[in-house]
């Protein structure tokens, strides 16, 4: 395998977690719910997946329980932002804090435990031998799943009535309501999907990417996923491309280390890149105000303006 193909393969596997989390957040935000709890849901997902896989020996159970735990946490956020219409920013931050706390509480005995079974690399015959492109076909199952999921979620969002309903609810809930679309149900479903995918993203880190558990292993990737949501203009396809950029920076960080650059300074690269990319993006975007769902972060109540 040549250097470039190997780099791309690493880049893709470094970006799957961010992609999964961003896909979920795109749906939540398209429906108008801003969930800043991604980091916390990922942390819990990572821990639960690791714990469940370790104790049952079954990765599928690990992944499922991570998704369910993410959904449960997002349900709290849904209740606060949709049903009682409180402050979504604070609720999301609280969820992140709580998730990080829960993850370190549950995971305190998992540190250093090796995982016997983790998601292995699958090589698709023939395709994986093509230079450069082959990198896409030499990945673990969850990464393959993320390609398919991106396509499905894109199709649903832009080509079906379910997608129209979601976008309506996020852009103009009043209009959606008067058409007979249940604003609350749509928002709850999207928020739960966001939670499930954030949990799965965390699971990817602990049972596929590393595979091990350390405290704080999400290391801000949930926040980067939030930035990616904005970066992708709330479009799953752009999120796929964007996530590779962010993944590439992560890999670059390790590749530059042998050159004698300080590891703590290199560790700031993904965060710096996130800020810079948002800034560069907005130089163009500010002019046309593309993208953001009009009612993002605003609760809906029928008898109020």
């Amino acid at each position: 395998m040549d250097y470039i193909t190997e780099f791309i393969a690493m880049m893709i596997s470094a970006s799957t977690a961010i992609l999964l989390a961003a896909l979920g957040e795109i749906y939540a935000e398209r429906s108008g719910v801003l969930n800043l709890g991604v980091e916390g849901m990922m942390a819990v997902g990572a821990t639960i997946a690791f714990y469940a896989t370790l104790s049952t020996g079954n990765i599928i159970i690990g992944l499922l329980s991570a998704s369910i735990s993410g959904m449960l946490l997002s349900l709290i956020h849904g209740f606060i932002s949709i049903t009682i219409r409180s402050n979504q920013v604070i609720s999301g931050l609280a969820l992140s804090m709580m998730g990080l706390g829960i993850s370190s509480l549950i995971g305190r005995n998992l540190i250093g435990t090796p995982l016997r079974n983790s998601l292995g690399i699958i090589e698709v015959a023939l395709l994986s031998d093509i230079p450069v492109i082959g990198a896409f076909f030499r990945q673990n199952a969850l990464t393959f799943f993320s390609y398919i999921l991106t396509a499905i979620l894109w199709y649903i969002l832009f080509k079906t009535k379910i997608g129209i309903a979601i976008r309506m609810v996020g852009d103009n809930p009043k209009s959606a309501d008067s058409l007979g679309i249940n604003v609350y149900t749509v928002r709850y479903r999207c928020t739960l999907l966001g939670g499930a995918l954030a949990g799965l993203a965390g699971a990817y880190l602990s049972v596929a990417y590393t595979p091990t558990w350390i405290e704080g292993m999400t290391a801000g990737q949930g926040w980067i996923a939030l930035a990616l949501t904005v970066f992708s203009a709330w479009n799953p396809l752009y999120a796929l491309i964007g996530s590779y950029l962010f993944g590439g920076i992560r890999i670059l960080q390790f590749r530059l280390q042998p050159l004698g650059l300080s590891p703590p300074l290199l560790s700031t690269l993904p965060y710096l890149f996130t800020i810079i990319s948002l800034a560069l993006l907005n130089i163009e975007k500010i002019r046309w105000r593309i993208g953001a769902p009009q009612h993002l972060g605003k609760p809906y109540h029928r008898e109020e303006a």
Partner: protein, 361 residues
């Protein structure tokens, strides 16, 4: 169409609750989060009763209270700082990073700048504030000029700040006498903040914290600048409509915010540690804790003092059970999250009245 009528609890809106009711609701929220955390503790095999008793018994001793007061100082300064930002409509989640930069600024003056010794401490305080303010200024300039969401950028800058501190203490600023620990050398005593004897309470900073909460209260209730910041916090379009200088008011708010938070960083290195250490030991999440503080005080600067006390008590409690029960440091985040969540729920409940009535389905 199917018609059902049942009797049950009916929820109705009511007018805004008054101040006593609001305070009562917050107390209720804190109690709720104690209960909820207790459940989580119990699930993970820790006796919550034992843990809570331990916290209360150890906290309300002389040394316990001294420790609470020591922790109260950075939380108070950060809380007041964040209130300024939040009132101006800026979601400054970056207090953690601004605090670290304040500490870096003070360290630079303490160890690496040649100044007349009596001036060293005042200069360290000033430069720490400037560093904190400058760090806060970057995301707000990005917001004003390029519409970059400040929640994401301030958060990202926390990670960058902690990378910078770690770089410094592992690299160029690593102390010659520290045998491989990631610490700088100990500061000369000319930059030490005076302490209340027998404690680690650096009282000048404490006094400044209380003073700043009163000043910020005055700023927003009496002055032109405060009024303008509050209005600009409602959005750029409104500021433009009224002909107010949106960018400059937001920047001023963020400079005040970052400056106060930076001062908290100076207090930590010049009052408590007396050296710069790796990032996570300089600030044990004060910046994030202050978000709770600001919300708990209902964005009223005067409310920041009791809020900071409560949070300092909780952080002290965290240290106690961390040592006694061997719980990881981050576990206290559960409690932090719980307070915020129950506050949101309880506040929302306060907006409604529940009564018995007829439902039609």
């Amino acid at each position: 169409m199917k018609v059902k009528m049942i009797h049950g609890l009916k929820i109705e809106r009511r007018e805004e609750p008054g101040l006593p009711a609001r305070i009562l609701l917050k107390v209720l929220a804190v109690i709720l989060s104690f209960l909820f955390s207790a459940i989580l503790f119990a699930i993970s095999g820790i006796d919550p009763w034992y843990a809570y008793t331990l916290i209360f018994v150890r906290s309300f001793t002389y040394s316990g209270l001294a420790e609470i007061t020591t922790k109260l100082i950075p939380i108070l300064l950060c809380t007041v700082g964040l209130i300024v930002a939040f009132k101006a409509g800026i979601w400054n989640i970056g207090a953690e990073g601004q605090l670290l930069l304040g500490a870096v600024g003070a360290t630079w003056i303490a160890l690496f700048v040649d100044v007349y010794d009596p001036l060293r401490l005042p200069l360290a305080l000033l430069v720490g504030m400037i560093f904190g303010a400058s760090w806060a200024l970057i995301p707000i300039i990005l917001k004003v000029r390029l519409n970059v969401n400040e929640i994401v950028s301030t958060l990202m800058m926390n990670y960058v700040a902690s990378g910078i501190v770690d770089y410094l203490v592992y690299g160029p600023w690593k102390g010659a006498r520290e045998w491989g620990f990631p610490y700088t050398d100990k500061f000369p005593d000319t930059v030490w903040l005076p302490l209340i004897p027998g404690t680690r309470i650096h009282w000048p900073t404490l006094i400044f914290g209380v003073f700043s909460s009163i000043m910020v209260y005055m700023l927003f209730s009496k002055t032109v600048l405060g009024f303008e910041m509050k209005v600009c916090g409602q959005g750029r379009k409104i500021a433009d409509y009224l002909g107010m200088p949106y960018g400059s008011r937001l920047m001023i708010a963020m400079v005040i915010s970052g400056g106060l938070v930076g001062l908290a960083g100076v207090g930590e290195v010049c009052g408590v540690h007396r050296r710069l250490r790796y990032a996570s030991s300089i600030s044990s999440g004060y910046g994030y804790t202050a978000i709770i503080g600001a919300w708990l005080s209902g964005l009223n600067p005067l409310g920041s003092i009791p809020s900071a006390f409560l949070l300092a008590f909780l952080l002290t409690g965290r240290d106690i059970i961390q040592v006694s029960l061997g719980l990881p440091f981050a576990t206290s985040n559960i409690f932090n999250g719980c307070i915020l969540l129950s506050m949101l729920v309880v506040e929302a409940l306060g907006r409604y009245r529940v009564r018995w009535g007829r439902w039609t389905i």
